[in-house]
């Protein structure tokens, strides 16, 4: 009996591993192909490079029209970091008001906030573009960053509201007796206890901003403002004339920041998805 159970268990592991490898194959193919010399990328069926080169990384890094990929990475990093700061600050402020303070029309504002979570981005797209165009903000990063500082990713407000509701009210009350005002309660009591929710928000905001393609493409057309996603899309020529080595090398690098953040914060990350259903 134990032998049979062990066999079943082994079979199950084998199936899970095999299917897992199939899942990872495209990613592995991308990474390993970026080290293969050009003539082997599409002809060699072996996943492991038979000969090894770093040329693609050197060539790819040179970028487009004299603007290097270093610039694109810097731009993406700037946008992502500013978005993270904006979301963390503005969403936590709003969440505190919704979960702890009493004010007029609270119910109304709260339901509006809930509805905006489901609103497709496209309904506000055209007027927002016109607005930014009037402000001469096309080809700046404001259209990509400002919405985060104005807490427009309502999902994170809801996430933090749920989290703050789990913090015992007695803490606030005793702080009030000790003479703390609302802003002191927020900064000294709520924010330190809110850190896990803030980290979840930060990780997701970073990854979504890094991978965002649609709005970057709409608002950025000058090459020195390009992000990593735009850079890669420009290296890629659908008619088939791409420098595949460089393209694959830069694609591999583009996945690095997201992967590193995931691996470092894995615990928060997977728990965040499981409990809140983000993404």
């Amino acid at each position: 009996m134990p032998l049979k159970r062990r066999l079943v268990q082994a079979g199950r592991h084998a199936a899970i591993i095999l299917f897992g490898m199939l899942m990872l194959y495209p990613v592995l193919w991308l990474i390993l192909s970026s080290f293969k010399p050009n003539h082997l990328i599409f002809t060699s069926s072996s996943l492991i490079p038979t000969s090894f080169t770093l040329d693609h990384f050197v060539n790819g890094w040179k970028g487009l029209q004299g603007v290097s990929f270093g610039r694109f990475f810097g731009n993406s990093a700037l946008i992502s970091v500013m978005s993270v700061l904006g979301n963390v600050i503005s969403c936590s402020l709003a969440a505190y008001a919704f979960s702890r303070l009493k004010f007029k029309f609270k119910g109304l504002w709260f339901s509006i906030m809930l509805v905006t979570i489901m609103l497709p981005y496209h309904v506000t797209l055209v007027p927002q573009y016109i607005l930014y165009n009037e402000l001469h903000w096309i080809n700046t990063y404001f259209p990509l960053i400002l919405p985060k500082w104005l807490a427009q990713d309502s999902f994170f407000i809801l996430l933090m509201v749920q989290f703050i509701r789990g913090i015992p009210r007695e803490l606030d009350e005793s702080a009030t007796i000790d003479g703390c005002g609302q802003s002191q309660i927020f900064f000294r009591i709520v924010v330190p206890l809110l850190v896990p929710a803030l980290i979840t928000t930060a990780i997701f905001t970073f990854i979504w901003s890094w991978d965002d393609f649609f709005s970057q493409m709409i608002y950025l057309s000058k090459i020195d403002l390009f992000t990593v996603q735009l850079g890669i899309r420009s290296l890629f020529d659908p008619s088939g004339q791409s420098d595949w080595g460089a393209l694959l090398a830069m694609s591999t690098l583009s996945l690095l920041p997201v992967t590193i953040i995931f691996l470092v914060f894995q615990r928060y990350f997977l728990e965040g998805i499981a409990t809140t259903g983000l993404k």
């Binding site: 990613v27 007027p127 573009y129 583009s254």
Partner: protein, 304 residues
């Protein structure tokens, strides 16, 4: 609320609105205002250069009576949503159940299966995907081992949509993580009791697992559906960026983008956006309304 003395209430009112200020500014300037503006623009012709001219419902009339591309892009998007969402959720549930068997190394497996969801939204992966499904790509090389000559997945208008569907199904990891959390909540004694009653695995799945998991399925279904209706990057990168071949990658969002930002027909694009809002709203409402027939909240059912 009556217990609070007037000045205190007033004070909290002020403080609360200060905390809410960034969100409120954003709500009016970036959400509500633009929504009203886009509804108005949808009733005009507007090319960004001259001022909008009022044309009443003519954009909508044109969309519904003359616009073949609209019809095709809407049909394609429905096809994509109805194919990819159930498949993605089915894979997610299946793998979650396999991983929920108290397997050693769960953390590692969970990570491996989650990685596609993590990276799949990027342009890099969309390009890789395109390359893998290319006529001489890995998929067809693999098929040729079995003597099958695969079609030109990307170039053929009948098949390119399946390439995009597989990319979307491949990213079942995030739904799987949510399912895993849901499966852990199901009390083990339910299964033990049904074992005693002699219920088979299949009975247990339909009698215990599915009903107990239905709130999570409901959640995953809503989120998956709303996201899939808005898919853009895979269609843009795997197709030629203009909807080709033969409009086979002309997803609704891509059509909206092209109308608005290639042809600068801003009024028309706004009308398309409002139609999309209504469609997503209707589908969400249908799922919500039918949910009372298939979503069970266990012991709390009476309380709700």
């Amino acid at each position: 609320m009556k217990k609070l003395s007037k000045p205190l209430y007033g004070q909290q009112n002020m403080t609360a609105y200060l905390f809410l200020l960034p969100w409120l500014i954003g709500l009016f300037c970036l959400t509500l205002g633009p929504m009203v503006a886009s509804l108005y623009l949808s009733l005009t012709k507007f090319n960004l250069l001259s001022s909008p001219t009022w044309t009443g419902l003519s954009n909508y009339v044109q969309i519904f009576t003359e616009d073949d591309t609209f019809r095709r892009s809407l049909g394609l998007t429905f096809y994509y949503v109805f194919l990819s969402v159930p498949l993605r959720l089915a894979f997610a549930l299946l793998v979650a159940m396999a991983l929920n068997k108290g397997i050693r190394g769960l953390g590692l497996y969970r990570t491996v299966y989650y990685i596609p969801s993590l990276l799949g939204g990027s342009v890099a992966i969309a390009i890789v995907w395109r390359q893998i499904f290319e006529g001489s790509g890995l998929v067809n090389q693999f098929l040729s081992w079995f003597g099958i000559t695969g079609p030109a997945w990307i170039a053929h208008p009948d098949y390119v949509v399946y390439t995009i569907v597989t990319l979307s199904v491949w990213q079942f990891g995030s739904a799987m993580v949510i399912f895993l959390a849901g499966l852990k909540q199901i009390p083990a004694d339910l299964y033990e009791a049904s074992d005693v009653d002699g219920a088979g695995k299949l009975r247990q799945f339909f009698g215990i697992t599915l009903p107990m998991l239905s709130p999570v399925i409901f959640f995953n279904l809503i989120m998956s559906m709303i996201n899939s209706f808005q898919a853009f990057t895979p269609a843009y990168v795997i197709g030629d960026g203009r909807g080709g071949p033969l409009d086979a990658t002309m997803f609704y969002t891509l059509y909206l983008y092209l109308k608005g930002f290639s042809f600068f027909d801003m009024g028309y694009a706004s009308a398309l956006a409002w139609i999309m809002l209504v469609i997503i709203g209707v589908f969400t409402a249908i799922v919500f309304l039918t949910s009372k027939f298939w979503v069970f909240y266990g012991d709390n059912q009476e309380g709700r």
